[in-house]
Structure formats: C-alpha cells, structure tokens
C-alpha cells in the first residue's frame, strides 16, 4: 500500500510540485461496531448505612436513586443494562441470611426506562453489605458470551461478610476470561472501604471513584456506562505453553492469557520470508505487587537461538507494563527447496513481578498479547535517505571536488593543446 502511495506522491510532486494535501483520508476514526452489544450491570448497595444523610444534605440512598434516574435516561441504545441490589431485603441480625441477601432487581437486557425506574424507586435501605456474593451474582447475570461486560458497584461500606474476600472474588471472575471489568464507586468512603474497592477495581482493570456529591455520582456512572458502549476489539483467550514445543500457534490478532510471578509462557507464530513479525505484550499488575518489576518478550528460533527481545522495567504505581518487538525475516534469495516455507518463531513472555507473601499468586496476572504480521520493510542501502547528503560540509566538499576537477581538466586540455602545438 505504501508503495502505491509512494508512487502517487512521487508523480504528484513531479507534475504539480505544490499540493500539500496528498491522499486525503476521511476524518472520522470510528471503528466497526462490536458484534454483540455490550452489557452493564449496576450493583447498588441498599444496606442500612445508606440512610446516612451526608451527600448534599440528603441520604446516600436518595442520592443514589437520583443518580440512577439520570443514568437510566442517558443509557445508550445499544447497551443492555441490568440492576442488582445487595442488602435490600433482610433487615435481621442473622449474619448467614444477611450475607445471602442479593437480588436481581432488573434483568440484563434491552432497557425499559419506566420499568427500571419504578423498580429503583421501591428500594429502601435495609440490610447487610454482601459485596462478594453480589459480584458473583452479577457475573452470573451477565452470562459468558463474547460481549464486553462491565459491573458498576456502588457502595458505602466495606463487605461485612468475611471470609469471602470480594477482592479475590473479583480476580477470580476476571480470570474466567469473560472480558469483565468492575468499576467501583464509594459513597463517602472510609479507609477500609476505599482499600477494598480499589482492590476490586485493580483486580479487573476497572476504576475506583470516591463520591461526595450527587452530581459526581450521576456523572461518573453515566461516563462508565458510556465507556461500556465504546466498541473495542475483544481479545481471544489462549494458554501459552511451558516451552516452545507444544505452545499454541497464534495467528495475527489480539490474545489474553494469565501468567503468575516468575512463570514463562511460550507461543508460536509462523512467519514467511519477506514478512515482518510485530508482537507486543502487556502484563497487568492486578494486585499489590512489590515496587520494582519488569517484563521480557523474546523471539526465539525453534532451536533456541534468540532473535530479538523487547524488555521493560519500572517502579512504583502502574496498571500495566508493556514491551514489544519487531522481527523482519529477510526475503529468500535463491530457491532452496528443502527449507520449509514458513519459519516458526517462538515468543517467550516472562516477568519479574513479585509480591509480598500475603498476596495470592493464583490466578496469574493478565497478559495481553498482540501479534501482527506485515510485509517486510524496504531494505536500506545506506544510513541516509537514498544515500543523499546534507549540510555545509557536503557543499564544501562537492564544490572543492568540482573546482579541482575543473582545474585538472583545464590543465590537461592546456597540456594537450601545447603538445599539439609543438608537433
């Protein structure tokens, strides 16, 4: 394609030599719509503590209701929305019953705004805060199809139903590979709530917001629902091998996998001579990790020779750590028939993340792997563009050379003239 453009540009420049606008492309950058419409489940805490009147002088519950009404009005058409409550029904003291108190208020599907609003209006602050079970329930509601899924969790208190750690629940849901993100919103959160909610968000690549005002709440929930509507490419789940032999064969595309601390994962990609392999890998730090970390992506031949590597290291707070590599396989000169046509390139992904002993290592951290195969680059015969020169030294050198050539030529012809005269 570039060849064509290059020719076109060359011709244009020669003929016209003044137009700047070459090969205009259309302005919009919109992508084709996703195949399955995205799903969002709003999970609302209706526990007793939602009675507290500390958001714009109103109770947390009424702030949440108002925000829900605004959000329900603004939900994009293509989004399938559901609502689930936690702590809405059981007012008693029995912990076991209180911790099962989560209910699907409105099923995930095309939205009937009046119906959904009516359902929200009936809610009254009641019971416990079983976040873990509510997340499991929400994940069930969303199903396991290929659509992108988002859970928006709105709560004002930490989970009161230990030992089921909601953070671990979130990580396990995410590890199912169903493209699920959990965003959390804390209403006037205390330190423990914040810690738990940030942990849940981090575990699934979601965001955490602390809310102190009604308009903040509705704006943020609306933003999150809109985000769910953005079409994105959904990666394909794969499982890398422990060594190159037997590793999964990848075609160009986007893949996800999981890798624990210090583990190596291998993949194979076929590459024809004259093609270029481009691979990049991102490892998400989805849990509390130690401060210094790294990632290494290596392209290795089947015989174990390293071709090229990409590596990256970092420290401090991060969401992902990424690196990439490029491997242009030279075009074949002669036709040596005994060689196989395509070379198998092994890609090895390793990481040097570590975590304090209190952090669970399984399931592993999410990996995102992109593999592209393009045509090989035009080979360069010189460092400089077309071997051209530039700068005053070049001008000086050329002028001097020209001058000397002129002198010599002049002397030569004088000498020849003199010789001709003497004969």
């Amino acid at each position: 394609m570039i060849t064509r453009k290059r020719l076109a540009t060359g011709a244009c420049a020669l003929l016209v030599a003044l137009t700047a606008a070459l090969l205009p492309t259309s302005a919009s950058a919109d992508e084709p719509a996703a195949k399955e419409s995205p799903k969002v489940e709003l999970v609302l805490d209706v526990s007793g503590s939602m009675r507290a009147r500390d958001i714009d002088g109103k109770s947390r519950m009424s702030a949440a209701k108002q925000a829900f009404n605004e959000v329900l009005d603004a939900v994009p058409e293509e989004v399938r929305l559901g609502i689930r409550t936690l702590g809405a029904d059981y007012p008693g003291d029995d912990r076991e019953r209180g911790c099962k108190d989560t209910r699907r208020l409105y099923p995930v599907g095309p939205l009937d705004r009046t119906e959904a609003k009516a359902a929200v209006a009936t809610l009254a602050p009641t019971g416990w805060t079983p976040i873990g079970p509510a997340l499991l329930g929400a994940a069930d509601d969303l199903g396991e199809d290929g659509a992108t899924k988002r859970i928006v969790l709105i709560t004002d208190g930490e989970d009161t139903c230990a030992p089921l750690d909601p953070c671990q629940v979130a990580r396990e849901i995410a590890a199912k590979g169903i493209h699920l993100v959990i965003d959390t919103l804390g209403l006037v959160p205390d330190a423990k709530t914040r810690q738990q909610l940030t942990c849940i968000a981090e575990a699934t690549g979601g965001t955490y917001t602390s809310v102190h005002r009604t308009d903040e709440l509705s704006r943020r929930v609306r933003q999150l629902v809109d985000r769910a509507a953005d079409p994105v490419v959904t990666p394909v789940a794969t499982e890398g091998g422990a060594r190159c032999a037997g590793a999964p064969q990848l075609k160009p595309g986007l893949y996800t996998d999981r890798e624990t601390f210090g583990e190596h994962r291998w993949y194979r990609v076929d590459l024809l001579p004259g093609q270029e392999l481009r691979a990049s890998v991102s490892i998400s730090a989805d849990r509390a990790v130690n401060d210094d970390y790294g990632v290494l992506l290596r392209a290795v031949t089947v015989h174990g020779r390293e071709i090229v590597r990409g590596s990256e290291a970092g420290d401090g707070r991060t969401d992902v750590l990424s690196t990439g590599l490029r491997y242009p396989k030279p075009a074949r000169d002669g036709a040596d028939a005994d060689k196989p046509a395509a070379e198998t390139v092994c890609l090895q992904v390793s990481n040097s993340f570590s975590a304090p002993p209190s952090v669970k290592t399984t399931p592993g951290m999410p990996i995102e792997l992109t593999v592209d195969v393009v045509d090989g680059p035009a080979s360069a015969s010189d460092v400089a563009s077309f071997g051209l020169g530039r700068g005053w030294w070049l001008l000086g050198a050329l002028a001097l050379a020209g001058f000397l050539a002129g002198l010599i030529w002049g002397w030569l012809s004088r000498w020849r003239f003199a010789v001709w005269r003497t004969h």
Binding site: M1, I2, T3, K5, R6, T9, G10, A13, L14, A17, L18, T19, A20, A21, L22, P24, A29, P32, T198, G205, T207, Y208, T209, Q223, R227, V232, A279, S280, V308, G310, R317, S322, T323, G324, R326, P328, E368, D372, V373, V374, D375, P377, A378, S379, S381, V383, S385, F386, L388, G389, G391, L395, L398, A401, G402, A405, G406, L407, G410, R414
Partner: protein
C-alpha cells in the same frame, strides 16, 4: 518497491537540477502533516480510554480532554509520521485542594505502536504538586521519528503513539477524586537531519496487516486499522527530505566551481604564447 522509489527520486533530482523554479516550488511540498499551528486548538475527544485497546484517538493540533478520578490511567493515541518530532503536553486540573490530604505526583508516559516506552528528550514528564496547587503541566518531547530502524533498535518509527497520564504518588485517602486533564500534541518538522533510508511496509499501527489482506479489506470497503490511525493527510510516502535540495545544490555548486577552475587554467581563454590570430 525500491526501484519505483529510485525512479521517482531520479526524476525528482532531474527536475530539481534542470528547472530553476523547481527547487523553490519543491520546498513547499514537504511536511504536509507537520507543524500544526500551536495557537488555538481544534477540539478533540472529550473522553479518554483506560487501556491501550480503548485509547482515545486524536490528531496533532487537536486538544483532547477528559474527566476522571485520581488513580485512573488515561490513554490517548495519536499518529506521528516520518521526520516529525512530537511534543506531548498535558495539563492536569487537580481536585479541589480542600479535599486533598497531601502532595501528589503526576506522570505522562509515551509508548509507540508496539507498546514500547519512548524516552523523552526534554520536558518534565513527571511532576509533584503541593497540596494547594490547582493545576499542573507536564510535557514530553519525543525523539524525531525516523523512516526506518533496525529490528534491534527502539528508535521511534512512523505509527501510532500512546500517551498515558496517571498519578504515581499520592496519599491513599485522595484516591478516586475527580480531576480533569487536557492533552495536546505539537509536531515540529525536523527536516532531513534524521532522514534515514529504508521504509516500513506498514506504519507501526496495531492491527496492521500484509498488503494482500489490506487490499482485500479495501475492496470490501472496510477501513484498515492503518488508514483509521493515519494523520490528517495520510501516511507520508517517506521519499522526501531536504537532503534532495542539499545534494542538488551541492551538484550545482560543484559544476560552477568546476567551470571556475577550468576558467582559471585558461586565463583569458588561450595560452599566452599563442598569437591572437592563428
């Protein structure tokens, strides 16, 4: 591919040498997408992505804005082409200082289309804001983008560039507060100083494919990822650099100097011993 390029180049060189008007006119052609006016900025996207995959696309000269919660990782993506040196500028409007508990450190990182982190030549990529500070400016000047690099180098190549903006250090109780960010990219044209030979078959854009597949996509009237991620005027062909002018000028100078040198040896045009009329 190479031959076509050479032919175009040869034709161009001829045009530059022969037509006295040509060099002047040619000087207008380079950098179709470079150096956007830095004054007023066109509006860009008003939301940012949260991962590489969902990064919000904008073009140099546009201003992208976003509202988010502290602790979020915001991603944008912009195209940069051969010969350009992009400068990423970010302005963060921090949450109300009454809600904050201490200083925070913000950081902008730039990654290329292969998600390799790109170093900043100049600019404060990371800055700390005191508790009272209302806003913060970050900048990152990338290295000039080259037409090609060997596979073992991580020189910037034409393609997509990702910008990630996040807070890297803050008191934990300040997480999740709302802030807004503005981000823009200015591009300066670095001329032929970094014009290298060779060219990528496709710019470093995620989802780039071989020419065959791209052609099939085009025939099916689908926009290829490479086209979707192109700068306003499309990806440059990469044959132009001001090295053509320098070299051509050098050639002309050498010819003139040659004539001069020749004239020197001749004096008035004939050897002095030769009588005026032979």
């Amino acid at each position: 591919m190479r031959t076509a390029r050479m032919l175009a180049a040869a034709g161009l060189a001829a045009a530059a040498l022969l037509g006295p008007a040509a060099p002047g006119a040619l000087a207008d052609t380079p950098a179709p997408s470079a150096s956007a006016a830095s004054g007023e900025k066109a509006a860009g996207p008003t939301e940012a992505g949260t991962t590489f995959r969902t990064a919000a696309a904008f073009r140099p000269g546009q201003e992208a804005t976003a509202q988010a919660a502290t602790g979020d990782y915001l991603y944008w993506v912009f195209p940069a082409d051969t010969g350009e040196r992009p400068t990423v500028k970010a302005t963060v409007t921090l949450p109300e200082s009454a809600l904050r508990h201490g200083p925070s450190t913000w950081r902008v990182d730039v990654y290329d289309g292969l998600r390799r982190r790109q170093p900043c030549m100049y600019g404060s990529q990371s800055r700390s804001a005191a508790k009272e500070t209302a806003s913060l400016e970050l900048a990152c000047v990338l290295r000039p983008v080259r037409a090609s690099a060997d596979a073992w180098a991580d020189d910037p190549l034409p393609g997509s560039y990702y910008v990630r903006l996040t807070v890297t250090g803050l008191p934990e109780e300040d997480l999740g507060q709302s802030f807004s960010a503005r981000i823009g990219v200015d591009v300066s044209d670095r001329g032929g100083r970094y014009a290298t030979d060779g060219a990528l078959a496709a710019p470093l854009v995620p989802g780039a494919t071989t020419a065959e597949i791209a052609e099939a996509e085009e025939q099916a009237d689908r926009r290829t990822p490479v086209e979707a991620a192109a700068p306003e005027d499309g990806w440059s062909s990469g044959w132009w650099s001001d090295r053509w002018l320098w070299t051509a000028a050098g050639g002309v100078l050498a010819a003139l100097a040659g004539i001069g040198g020749y004239a020197l040896t001749r004096g008035s045009g004939r050897p002095s011993r030769v009588p005026p009329a032979v």
